[in-house]
């Protein structure tokens, strides 16, 4: 555990430089420049969002074609009511809104599921203080076969650390 994000960043760089794999970092806010250091891959959430939004576009157009053109043609202000393409300008705002709706909600739900933070899910945070003003850097000995626990401990103590806790995980 560290009491400053700068110290944690320096420690992470040092540990990774020694060939130690950092499992995860818990922090109350995003730490600039940390992701490439500990080897976190770039998020693919944006691609998901694009796909959800495209799905929304298709669904909205399909829906309006069925409701307004195919099932029961609506005559609103004398606009062409038997053709989707000729009536398209009227459908664009709804299509746009529905795409944004699908993109945003899909993205938010995916994010919550992927992070295991859906409402009611048990917290997997090792220390509640990381939600306030402390920063935790987690290292698993099972991911670092090249270093034994004592060596890991020594390497950690060599950094500007505030608190160290070793847990036996089943």
């Amino acid at each position: 555990m560290y009491d400053d994000e700068g110290k944690l960043l320096a420690a992470a760089e040092k540990l990774v430089g020694q060939g130690i794999r950092v499992k995860d970092v818990f922090s109350p806010f995003p730490i600039h420049g940390l992701d490439p250091v500990i080897g976190v891959k770039r998020t693919r959430l944006a691609i998901c969002s694009f796909m959800y939004a495209t799905g929304g576009t298709i669904l909205a157009l399909l829906g309006m074609w069925y409701f307004m053109i195919y099932d029961w043609p609506m005559n609103i202000g004398g606009k062409p009511s038997f053709s989707l393409i000729e009536n398209l300008p009227a459908f664009v705002p709804v299509t746009f809104e529905f795409s944004v709706f699908c993109g945003a909600h899909g993205m938010a739900i995916t994010y919550l599921i992927r992070n295991k933070t859906l409402p009611g899910m048990p917290a997997c945070n090792p220390d509640p203080r990381t939600t306030d003003d402390k920063f935790v850097l987690e290292i698993a000995s099972s991911q670092n076969h090249g270093h034994d626990v004592d060596a890991l401990e020594a390497a950690l103590k060599d950094t500007d650390i505030m608190e160290l806790s070793i847990k036996e995980l089943a």
Partner: protein
């Protein structure tokens, strides 16, 4: 330390200007044959090009003021680029004034309301709709023209002078002064960007009006300016003149290109959809000129009009939406050049269908592209000259350090 204009670029700008001069002479000689109305096509092209390149400069001034008013840090390294771009503003304004004054003296007929006979009640040429707008088009029009000249030239010179002074003296005093003046400029620009669009472009279709128009033209000038700035940044970085510009700066610039393209598309579509939906004769005539020919069939403007909308919307949307694409010069340059030209077509179609009667319109002419090239050469020359006159990266900007460490 200062940037030296490469010989090739200098030659290029002179060649472009030479092409422009040849095209203008050719167009002027040949222009009379087309319906013959006072070289109308030639003057219409002057309006198109005069406005398009002035708009890039005005967009740069707006963006520059916006960076100060919003206290933006990352762009402080490239603020000289915007200063260089708006160094064209005084020239562009004077050119525009010449065109407007020529119109007032009846040398060309781009603005129908300038014809005094439309105000004479009881005559054949009397036009009640225009006559009702006389208070706006009378002496008040010229007051506005003088105000544009005075305000824009004053601010362009003021921004540049203070920025160069900051290089000498340092400190934060000049920064705060520019912050206050930048905010003041935005107040002027908010009004003038709309009235300019009405005065120079919307009043061509005198009977028609749209409340969306000012914003539409403004978003067009903003996006063209952002494209030019992004390409200029990439070029200067490629030449090694901007050592501290990293991918994050390019990403941010391209984001502007992307975002304002969407703003432009949104406004284009809003204007179209509301008019299409309400279907009021006095409003739809703007689009019917662009969509339908005189005797049925489609108008010659239909294909370029729709094509430029789809290019300006879909191309940046699909090509620049991904993070990696926003950092890839190949994508940015490719998309940038295409939508830059496409936005020129946009301005062309704001002017030409209104100034040239459809039966006088016989297709697009090659010399019109020559005129575009000529004005582009002129704009390029002024930009490059201003770039070479001062250090390319400001020396004492308070946010310079923040900009150098920009990371997103």
């Amino acid at each position: 330390m200062n940037f030296v204009i490469p010989g090739k670029v200098k030659t290029l700008s002179y060649i472009l200007m030479a092409i422009g001069v040849i095209a203008l002479i050719w167009g002027y000689i040949q222009g009379g044959g087309e319906g013959g109305d006072h070289h109308q096509r030639w003057w219409s092209n002057m309006v198109v090009d005069g406005f398009f390149f002035l708009a890039i400069g005005l967009g740069a001034m707006f963006f520059y003021a916006l960076q100060y008013a919003a206290e933006v840090g990352w762009s402080s390294q490239i603020k000289r680029l915007f200063e260089a771009m708006f160094s064209y503003v005084p020239v562009g304004l004077v050119l525009m004034m010449i065109i407007v004054i020529a119109g007032q003296f009846g040398i060309h007929h781009s603005w129908h309301w300038m014809d005094s006979s439309v105000y004479e009640q009881g005559t054949d040429t009397y036009d009640a709709i225009i006559a009702n707008k006389k208070p706006y088009f009378g002496w008040f029009f010229w007051v506005r023209q003088v105000a544009y000249l005075a305000v824009f030239i004053f601010f362009a010179r003021f921004f540049r002078k203070q920025s160069l002074l900051e290089d000498q003296v340092g400190g934060t005093e000049i920064h705060y002064k520019l912050f206050r003046r930048g905010a003041l400029f935005l107040v002027f620009f908010a009004v003038f960007s709309s009235t300019m669009a009405w005065d120079w472009l919307m009043s061509i279709d005198t009977h028609w009006f749209s409340t969306m128009y000012g914003w539409y033209v403004f978003s067009g000038m903003w996006v063209t300016c952002m494209i030019f700035a992004t390409l200029l940044t990439l070029w200067l970085r490629h030449k090694g003149h901007l050592p501290h510009i990293n991918d994050s700066h390019v990403h941010d610039l391209t984001k502007w290109m992307f975002a304002i393209s969407m703003l432009w598309s949104y406004l284009w579509f809003c204007q179209f959809m509301l008019i299409w939906y309400s279907n009021i004769p006095e409003e739809v005539q703007y689009f019917t000129t662009r969509f339908f020919g005189e005797h049925g069939g489609s108008s010659p403007y239909l294909v370029p009009f729709m094509l430029m909308f789809f290019i300006n919307f879909a191309l940046p949307f699909y090509m620049l939406i991904a993070r990696d694409a926003k950092r890839n010069p190949t994508f940015i340059i490719g998309v940038g050049i295409i939508i830059f030209i496409s936005h020129f077509v946009d301005v062309y179609l704001l002017v030409i269908p209104g100034t040239i009667h459809m039966h006088d319109f016989h297709g697009f002419q090659w010399w019109e592209w020559g005129t575009f090239a000529g004005f582009f050469g002129l704009f390029l020359m002024f930009t490059m000259r201003a770039l070479s006159k001062a250090p390319l990266v400001p020396v004492n900007h308070p946010f310079l350090d923040e900009s150098k460490h920009h990371q997103i």
